[in-house]
Amino acid sequence: MTEAAAKDRPHRGTIFVEDAEVLDVEAWPAEQFIMRLVAPQCAAHARAGSFAHVTCDPALPMRRPLSLMRADPGSGVIEFLFKIVGDGLRLLAQRRPGETVSVMGPIGRPFTPTPGRRRPLLVGGGVGIPPMVFLAEALGPAARDGLVLMGSEVPFPFDPADSRLDVAHLPQGVVAAMPLMENLGVPSRLASLGGFPGCYPGYVTELGREWLRGLDAGALQEVEIFACGPTPMLKAAAALARDFGLPCQVSLEEYMACAVGGCAGCVVQVNTPAGPAMKRVCVDGPVFEAAAVDWGAMQH
């Protein structure tokens, strides 16, 4: 190995393994949980879009990847939002304050907002909400001319409130918002087919389309889409970006084993100038350019 190669190893020592104490576990309807833990190194180094690989229970041989919803370097507290989809997260939800779980993180390529695109459109669906919260908080005032849209087919894992922030070009009566965003001064709206009051009665990406349609050409030039959620929603977000000629970054998920790039288990197919390639969600992602993803090859 040459000396130059030895110096060129920025990847080394970037992921921390911490025994994280559970502070609290908040239960929301439809088996959704918000868990707060103490993991100072993860909290200090996390970025919007980062995830952590978490042991749910010693009885299970594998960890589970969870998007970070919040990470406070000051207090060392990290926050996950998850919905029970299998045995692992069912066991994780049973952890009680004072117990510890092993948190490996932060991991992955984060969202990288494009300079000059001052109207971010954040689209989060279901368990894709957490990284959108992280990104909105990270952007803060920089997102005030943008819009945060959350979609869910089950009750939201927060108490929606009518928005005080006007957003032009949205359908009449779509007023439900996420209070956290209101506090940031960032406009948000909610979409659901669940018939919840104030929500857009359709897909979250269609609500995004309504907003984009109302923007003039100059404003459209300033929009960039960020999305995380179920694959059909991400496909629709990618289509939305294509239709309006906008850059779009999506956060993907796939079954994951090592989470460090060692096993190539969590790949998605992307198109590169050299042809199709299998990219690892853990370290090549989880954030990818939507235009590069081969959506036809995606598993639902």
């Binding site: 921390f16 041989p61 460090v260 060692g262 197919q269």
Partner: protein, 327 residues
């Protein structure tokens, strides 16, 4: 070539002429091309005696479609499908970035034809790689892999052909998915293998009943993790009965997650022990296994790992001269 002790570190051993600082070998397919786990603070390649690089073929391969992995009871299915950039790129672009002062690096060679195995072996022979593992047991590709490894005659032909083009230590990775692993081992020894890796994954399947579809994109995959440990232990015991007469060492592997597991494999006849899936749960497991082995050796009066290899006392057999007597 045999595995023997070479220095005062009780964990160190000589494996086919290579010094391993620990009996732990990090397994092919779990640790990428040697650098991936160094992302983790506290992980070091120095905690392993050797690191086996990802399966490498003549041409670059995209590998299998997702899903490639799935958790099963006490185990995990995988069907990666030998995704790799091709042997030339591995030799020219990846090997120069590895620090051979940290550990021994072993190539893992695969192919669809005997010619491809030979071509890849030849490329690695002309490289700094420390040893070459012949993967004749990959369960996840349509051609080659286990199609060679499940038949002693075919296995021997691959080993013989690779033997001709390299003088580096050759390790043959044996499949558990075959009728008579001892006969296969015999033929591979005759064909010139220097060592064995026992076992590769056990073929398995998972079904999503709601969708009535296989979970794994490749339909079937290889099962690893604690679920296969008893199978692996028996295979190591069986291969050891053949290999010990020829001084051919074994890397025992399959479901090792603790020092206790590793010790069982060593007692069954493994000179070194493979760790793979266990890293996914605990990326810092190597240090714990090393510590546990060191503690055991001390408590039982063994001066080295080599003294413990194959000390299994079978019912009816006279007690082996091991432990304090040997130490």
């Amino acid at each position: 070539m045999t595995a023997t002790t070479t220095d005062t570190n009780p964990l160190a051993l000589d494996f086919c002429g290579l010094r391993f600082a620990s009996p732990i070998v990090l397994l092919s397919g779990c640790v990428g091309f040697g650098e991936e786990y160094t992302r983790v603070v506290g992980f070091s390649n120095r905690d392993a005696g050797a690191v086996v690089l990802k399966g490498t073929t003549g041409m670059a391969r995209l590998g299998n479609p997702p899903h490639r992995i799935y958790e099963t009871p006490q185990g995990m299915l995988n069907a990666i499908g030998l995704q790799n950039p091709g042997a030339r790129q591995v030799v020219e672009e990846i090997l120069p970035t590895l620090d051979f002062g940290e550990t021994r690096f072993i190539a893992n060679v695969s192919g669809s034809t005997i010619e491809e195995y030979v071509e890849v072996t030849r490329l690695f022979d002309d490289s700094p790689i420390d040893a070459i593992e012949i993967n004749i047991s990959c369960p996840n590709v349509k051609e080659g892999g286990v199609a060679f490894g499940n038949y002693p005659e075919m296995s021997a032909r691959v080993v013989e052909a690779c033997r001709r083009v390299t003088s580096k230590p050759l390790i043959t990775k044996l499949s558990p998915n075959q009728t008579d692993i001892q006969e296969n081992a015999r033929r591979c020894i005759e064909a010139g293998t220097d060592a064995f890796a026992v076992i590769n994954t056990v073929m398995g399947m998972a079904i999503d009943a709601e969708q009535r579809r296989p979970v794994i994109g490749n339909v079937q995959g290889g099962l690893s993790g604690p679920a296969i440990k008893p199978i692996a232990l028996l295979k190591v015991h069986q291969v050891h009965q053949v290999a010990q007469r020829h001084g051919v060492p074994i890397i025992g592997q399959g479901g090792i997650v603790s020092a206790r597991d590793a010790l069982e494999f060593i007692i069954a006849g493994a000179a070194a022990v493979g760790v793979g899936t266990a890293l996914f749960y605990d990326p810092l497991v190597c240090r714990k296994i090393n510590e546990g082995i060191r503690d055991y050796l001390g408590r039982h009066g063994f001066g080295s790992v080599a003294q413990l290899v194959g000390t299994l006392e079978l019912p009816g057999a006279p007690a082996a001269a091991a432990g304090r007597a040997a130490g």
